[in-house]
């Protein structure tokens, strides 16, 4: 089905649906309130039977709306994909409706998005962290989170008391060599972020 046919069909259930800029598959922006009903229509009436990917984009610490949830649906009958994106309302504590009643695969992928972006999925049956440990206080894929991470208490207080160790930021000396988009000539070369260990300074023990 062509993108504009799909669009008019979807606008019957959600009039505010807009086309989203895309380089490949049809993509739509939809208000977060009608996300569930749009995806349900796609699944029931348009053969999009697989939720392949559910994730989010952090549009930057200054941007508003800051978080966008993105879903990729796949039709195993027509073998095509579709992208649905929705902006979360609250920039401080973003939330989105869960798609778990429609697709079982949404469970883990939404847990992952919650873990890495801090987007709460309303009525999710089991919203726990999945990749980071349960006590971890940050959401690492947010743009303000540094590449190396933060120093953090160990999750097991018993081991922490006995060994005195902490979760340390990753050493940046020796890589990964980061490249940034910049107009300033000096920033163009990929450099290690950490300066504590280079030609001028000894390697710390």
């Amino acid at each position: 089905m062509l993108a504009h046919d799909l669009k008019s069909a979807l606008q019957e259930v959600c009039p505010q649906l807009q086309e989203r800029e895309t380089l490949d598959w049809p993509a739509f922006n939809c208000p977060i309130a009608s996300l569930f009903v749009v995806v349900k229509t796609l699944r029931d009436n348009h053969d999009f039977d697989g939720l392949m990917d559910a994730t989010a984009i952090d549009n930057g610490t200054e941007a508003s709306p800051r978080f966008t949830v993105v879903y990729h649906l796949f039709s195993s009958k027509n073998h095509n994909y579709l992208r649905i994106a929705a902006d979360c309302h609250d920039d401080e504590s973003p939330s989105a409706p869960t798609l778990c009643p429609l697709f079982k695969s949404a469970n883990w992928m939404e847990r992952e998005t919650y873990d890495l972006f801090g987007i709460r999925y309303e009525d999710h049956p089991d919203l726990r962290r999945i990749l980071m440990w349960d006590e971890y206080p940050y959401h690492p894929l947010r743009k303000e989170f540094p590449l190396a991470g933060f120093e953090e208490e160990l999750w097991d207080s018993e081991i922490a008391a006995e060994t005195g160790t902490k979760v340390k930021p990753a050493p940046m000396a020796g890589g990964p060599f980061v490249a940034r988009q910049s107009t300033f000539e000096g920033d163009r070369e990929p450099i290690a972020k950490d300066e504590s260990w280079n030609e001028a300074n000894e390697k710390p023990e």
Partner: protein, 413 residues
């Protein structure tokens, strides 16, 4: 394939359970399996709740291998990320390299030459054979058939020798670049691949003879871990696990990329979706991969192995860099700023050995992705554990895990 086999029950299990229920209050036992357990193939932990030998609840705990690849990708150029893709499904790095490069080329709307496409198909299929060989070997070892492991590992070693000759590395190949591959195939390499194929097929028959009619293998895998068609689709399973349940989806055939439409191959399907079917599908996929490899070598087009006209994406020939000013500048720009990419969003999935490996790239232009999401097939393949393990025996879990053939590297990313 057996159809008349009765459902397996432990001897006298019904009578024993009934007797036990009369006398004792049964208590559920919580058990943690992993993260370091031979059958979890990496660092997967299963929190199990057991009633005797029966699994009542299974809660997989992931993240032990989480490295933050997506965060790292936001901080480096597209080409710098290629080595990180080796470490996703580290049993088939050549396939990951190709999938990632194709995703970025889709963003750049870049068509690579036919020879490059054919090389990628060839290496992806060899990687598929090597990944299935390891998966099958480890799977059979987990359920007690040690000999298979010895055979498949010997074959896999031959493949790694070929990979080393091609890329310079056995495991972490980093073979592709955006817009091409790092180097052309060495002289005589394709002949050695053909020799491998020649020797490999009889050995595959030997492996099948060891397993396919083996009573123990049957008992451990047939009717164990049955995944229905509906569940397989709903849980987002892909690859051999999806086809083992009888769902006829193979991206190589259905959404062809890299010239897969030019090759003839069959897509094997399972019937019941049990552990045996998933084994049988992988077995047949290896034969089909050999078929594709032979066709690729037979039809290998001449020409460049990278997109020569894409001067802002692929670094020029090394010899030219050292002698020509223009090429030196071009190389410097691609190395420091990264390849020149348009702004936009793409999502690309490739049919990898474990399933559909997807890359969702959000670009704001320039050489660094704004957001790169990796859809690891093993992540979704494992999410079904909470359903498929429940109601079975504890001893079924190694068979189920082996048949799902997952890799934690791409699951935890």
């Amino acid at each position: 394939m057996p159809t008349d086999k009765a459902e397996y029950t432990a001897p006298d299990s019904g009578a024993k359970t009934a007797a036990a229920a009369q006398k004792f209050e049964t208590e559920h036992l919580e058990m943690s399996m992993g993260p370091s357990h031979p059958s979890t193939h990496g660092v997967l932990r299963l929190n199990l709740e057991l009633d005797g030998e029966i699994v009542k609840m299974c809660d997989p705990v992931l993240g032990y291998l989480h490295r933050g690849d997506e965060k790292i990708a936001e901080n480096m150029t597209y080409n710098q990320f290629v080595p990180y893709t080796d470490r996703l499904d580290y049993l088939a790095p050549l396939a990951n390299n190709a999938a990632y490069a194709m995703a970025v080329e889709k963003l750049a709307n870049l068509e690579v030459p036919e020879r490059c496409q054919a090389i990628r198909v060839l290496t992806t299929e060899l990687a598929r054979i090597s990944a299935h060989l390891l998966g099958l070997g480890a799977y059979s070892m987990d359920v007690g058939a040690l000999t298979v492991f010895m055979i498949t590992f010997t074959e896999r070693e031959k493949l790694y020798k070929l990979f080393e000759d091609l890329t310079g590395a056995r495991f972490t190949t980093s073979y592709t670049r955006i817009g091409g591959v790092t180097r052309d195939m060495p002289d005589g390499w394709m002949d050695r691949v053909l020799t491998f194929c020649e020797e490999f097929l009889p050995l595959l028959d030997d492996v099948e003879a060891l397993l396919a009619r083996n009573r123990i293998w049957f008992d451990r895998t047939a009717d164990v871990g049955v995944i229905s068609k509906e569940d397989a689709v709903s849980y987002g399973l892909t690859g051999p696990n999806l086809r083992g349940s009888g769902v006829d989806v193979d991206l190589r055939r259905d959404a062809p990329y890299s010239g897969y439409e030019n090759y003839e191959f069959e897509v094997p399907l399972g019937e019941k979706g049990d552990c045996y079917d998933r084994y049988a599908v992988r077995m047949e996929e290896m034969r089909q991969s050999v078929r594709i490899v032979r066709q690729a070598i037979d039809k290998m087009p001449e020409g460049p192995f990278y997109a020569e006209e894409a001067t802002k994406i692929f670094a020029p020939n090394k010899g030219k860099i050292l002698t020509s000013m223009e090429e030196l500048i071009q190389n410097f720009m691609i190395t420091t700023e990264g390849p020149d990419m348009p702004a936009g969003e793409v999502y690309f999935e490739a049919e990898n050995p474990k399933g559909a490996l997807g890359f969702y790239i959000v670009s704001k232009g320039g050489g660094v992705p704004y957001r790169l999401k990796i859809r690891g097939p093993s992540f979704n393949n494992l999410s079904i554990l909470e359903k498929v393990c429940v109601g079975g025996m504890v001893s079924d879990i190694p068979a189920i895990l082996g048949s799902l053939d997952f890799v934690m590297g791409e699951c935890d990313r």
